[in-house]
Symmetry: D2
Subunit: 327 residues, 4 copies
């Protein structure tokens, strides 16, 4: 009988990104994507989408270059947190406890093999709406804002990796992530992996970094859940001069209707117009795309093809660091 | 420290419904909802939506009256199945093992306190598409049919209950269902409960049976995931004479865009145009609607109000069996 | 050989409504429907949707009671204006020239037989966007606002009539409106008429006033053109306390996806989520709904039925003035 | 005072296309686009969309090569037909009367300066639905088919021209078409012209033929009117192997949501997901795109850019016939 799945990591809690253009980045998330500012403190702004329940899902921190600050995961229970900390300590990639931050309690920090900073935690602070933002729709933490084309919640984060297999295996072995889809090149090397701890096809993806770099951010994704919102935000992006990299279109991988754009700080942001397909099969066999099937429908099922930069551009920008194989 | 959640039941696997009009019911699911027939055998037809991965998610069985045959749940592992069977045996509502059916292996049968027949199982048979139904979209088990307005997958089942609290507590205690939303009347009695084992707001709901009956089916729900499909199927229903009970509209509870109609056998069917909101918080506090808030936005957030029959009609039809309080 | 159609009236140019709550009405159109204020002068505010090309399409004027100010039509040429003025003078319902208003030149005023005030004109002032509202989408007069769920353009006006036949015949005979659809009761009396001078099913409708009054406004309609916007604005209306009278749903008459709500001044406003069907047949035979077919699909093809008040409530409100037949 | 507009041509009545693969072409329009066959006779099939009122809007004729058969326009009255025939006779491009075809009466044939064959007519035969296709939605000629993703009506035709200015001026001067949008290169030559006789931005477009050829077809367009249908048909096209050239995306010119694909006979087909913006201004100033603004948003406002072949491929295919300037 096979080993049972681990259900200890439960949710993508928040993502921190760096920006050299804090004003521009704030304008993008607040005025275009309709997100709410919970708190501005020091060099950071804490934001959430209107259907995010916690204090924040996005922390924007001023920095010399754009890129990933950290990714935070919430466990399914305090006990689960203990178990995962033990596993991470054994992994050699644990970095120890922090006292927490605005919006959450103690967090255990670690990195992926490539060095992306992450943390797991249990205690969170819930968003409390002021009187004028309360809604009779009790399962929504606040009214839908009347500003921009408001996203509804954080969906996933996509990280570039110098070695996809090593990084995704780490997340699977030590944290219980399930592999949902993957791109495996004809030479057996992995080009991408999509992983989740829920019915979503992914809260976390690793994509091969075409520049051979380590620790870069490919994109953060927020969710609309309604396909037509992608048309509306695309209209807005075009009018205000935000560069659309690809979409609106439909991914083969995940089946989601999507749009990629760059926020003024330089980070790539994805928007999802629907959940794509959801996975409920407890015995899911990962979907394996090879070079032929990927081009027949994997990355882009319909709509604009992604440009070559899609596989090369991440934040921060880097020089090509090494000869890269299998790309 | 609180008890940890139970993650043993993982998925709504299939639902069996009875119909006195098998031809009409088949036409409804196949020609209008675009579902596929896997097998026709004896008095039953086994069907699936084009994104359902298993042999079937719907079994239609000829019977004198419409209503619920049974509901099947898949566990998260063989070990989880063993644990749940032990729990069910202890509950006094276990009925023992069956050898299985077309499309799945051994199943342990039990009933809710109200007598709705259910089963849990691990072994399932996956659908194998013939050559002409294979699709380059590898995460889809077959091509989208070119017939009707095809639903994509089974979503949930809603059962009428003589006592909502007793039935939902049973599912929570013995099977690990989490309570997501509930309607509690001013006198403390429960009018409805929405439960899930995944990020969906519910795979299972109990609604108070306004006629005081036990074991009736309120509705089975299939999923489109795209809001506009509800407009298309509503157009079709009107043209071919299928009665729409309510919608397209938006539920407050679940936030889903929905439509209710009656299939020719008499069973109520719901269609979902989006997933509503999804729940990722591992420490979710159930949303509690009372009589005031329910009417302010619970059952119907916008769109047609449900008629009085919504709370009284279930399958099979019954005479009013007892004076009913709090309704 | 039949008489040729008259193509002299070309467009619904603007509508003036009265409101006893100018602040509330302004908030509704500006903050919820995302309309733009061109000018505020005296007791009036001049507004336009972001794809309206002229100075304004809506004039909101403070008054003791809500209701219709006037309706303005633009002719297809200066010559066409002369011809129509001559016809109107002959009709006995002409009221003479005005010097115009903000946003347009001389206008010839007249009333319908029921006394609804109208005008026809040729000279209009075009909206000139300030630098920061200019858009690279050259066929759009300004950027899409980032406020509310912005409507795109004025669509039509619906007037209540004490005698539908008399009023619609006047508009057809003297101004060249074509009858597109109508509701004729079994006793031969007319319950409603939908008229247009373009491919739209109507820029003008008359509905029988169930209270037997004359000159009342049923509703003004603005256009989204995208079905999903109706879901978004319905969500907003529910959260901010705007009463939705019916919808989102689909009309049989016009086939349009619609929503009815009341602005804070008391006037009914309709929103269209698509154009419905368009009429290009130059020899169109009016669609005639009778009492049976109307209830089988005319007023509401799917979605919420309209409440009884739909046929009785207009602005300003009136006491029932006369016994009403055939209603 | 300016000359009045001519309102004599009223509607795009039908289009005939040639196909070397009649079976494949029929499958495309019937099984994928859900169109209906009115009649199959000789080498031709007569088809219509389910909201087309006439006998047919598409005639598919077997031929050695794909391309345009002819385009038919309906006038606004019999008198208007007489007037236009007189004008065409004077133009030198009239070819005389034909007795008509299945579905319509006498038609006067002419060509554009480039030789595209056209006809104008008044008498048409209306589609008569058999009993089982009648719908309670009286403004729809028949029930929505339950096959494919059914288009609703013919929208427009786009013709390639060796000289855009000459061809569009002919249609304006002799037939009263209004110029709605145009692309004028920096050297003053015209790259494209969009013309209409109704509120649509175009029933007819001319695009510069990058190969310098005359008389070729760029595409025929059918209309959904609902944006999401483009996602559904794109899904289908990908699964059955129909090549999508571009889209779903949004045009700047016309603002319409669109998709381009090739039917198995080789002709390009466009599908519209909404009407784009509609033109009601009787004094419309043509939108003029230059080389800069066109690339900033004209051809493609968002979504996939069109490939180079878009400007070169037409039916029938030709060798490059002449050095081409200004392209």
């Amino acid at each position: 009988m096979e080993k049972e799945p681990i259900f200890d990591v439960h949710q993508l809690a928040h993502v921190e990104i760096y920006t050299p253009n804090p004003e521009g980045t704030l304008w993008f998330f607040r005025d275009l994507l309709g997100m709410e500012v919970t708190k501005q403190e020091g060099q950071s702004v804490y934001m959430r989408a209107y259907e995010d329940w916690y204090h924040h899902t996005l922390k924007i921190t001023e920095a010399a270059k754009p890129g990933l600050g950290h990714v935070a995961w919430r466990t399914s229970s305090p006990q689960a947190l203990e178990r995962r900390v033990k596993a991470l300590e054994a992994s050699g990639l644990g970095k120890g406890w922090t006292d927490g931050d605005l919006g959450h309690g103690p967090a255990y920090r670690f990195t992926t093999p490539d060095g992306h900073l992450m943390e797991i935690l249990w205690e969170v602070e819930y968003y409390q709406p002021p009187e004028d933002k309360k809604t009779p729709l009790l399962n929504r933490p606040q009214k839908r804002p009347l500003r921009g084309i408001p996203v509804r919640r954080l969906d996933h984060v996509n990280l570039m990796a110098s070695d996809v297999r090593v990084n995704r295996t780490f997340m699977m072995d030590y944290l219980g992530f399930r592999l949902r889809e993957q791109f495996v090149r004809n030479d057996g090397s992995e080009g991408g992996a999509w992983l989740s701890v829920s019915a979503l096809t992914h809260e976390l993806a690793f994509m091969f970094d075409g520049k051979g770099a380590k620790g870069r951010l490919h994109h953060v994704c927020y969710w609309y859940g309604y396909p037509h919102e992608l048309n509306q935000i695309a209209d807005v992006f075009r009018e205000v001069g935000i560069k659309i990299e690809a979409g609106p279109g439909k991914h083969g991988i995940s089946q989601a209707l999507f749009l990629y754009a760059f926020e003024p700080g330089g980070n790539r942001v994805e928007l999802f117009g629907d959940p794509g397909y959801l996975i409920f099969d407890p015995d899911w066999k990962p979907i394996r795309w090879d070079e032929e099937s990927l081009y027949a429908g994997g990355a882009i099922w319909y709509g604009s093809p992604v440009p070559a930069e899609y596989f090369l551009y991440g934040t921060p920008e880097v020089e090509e660091t090494a000869p890269v194989s299998g790309d």
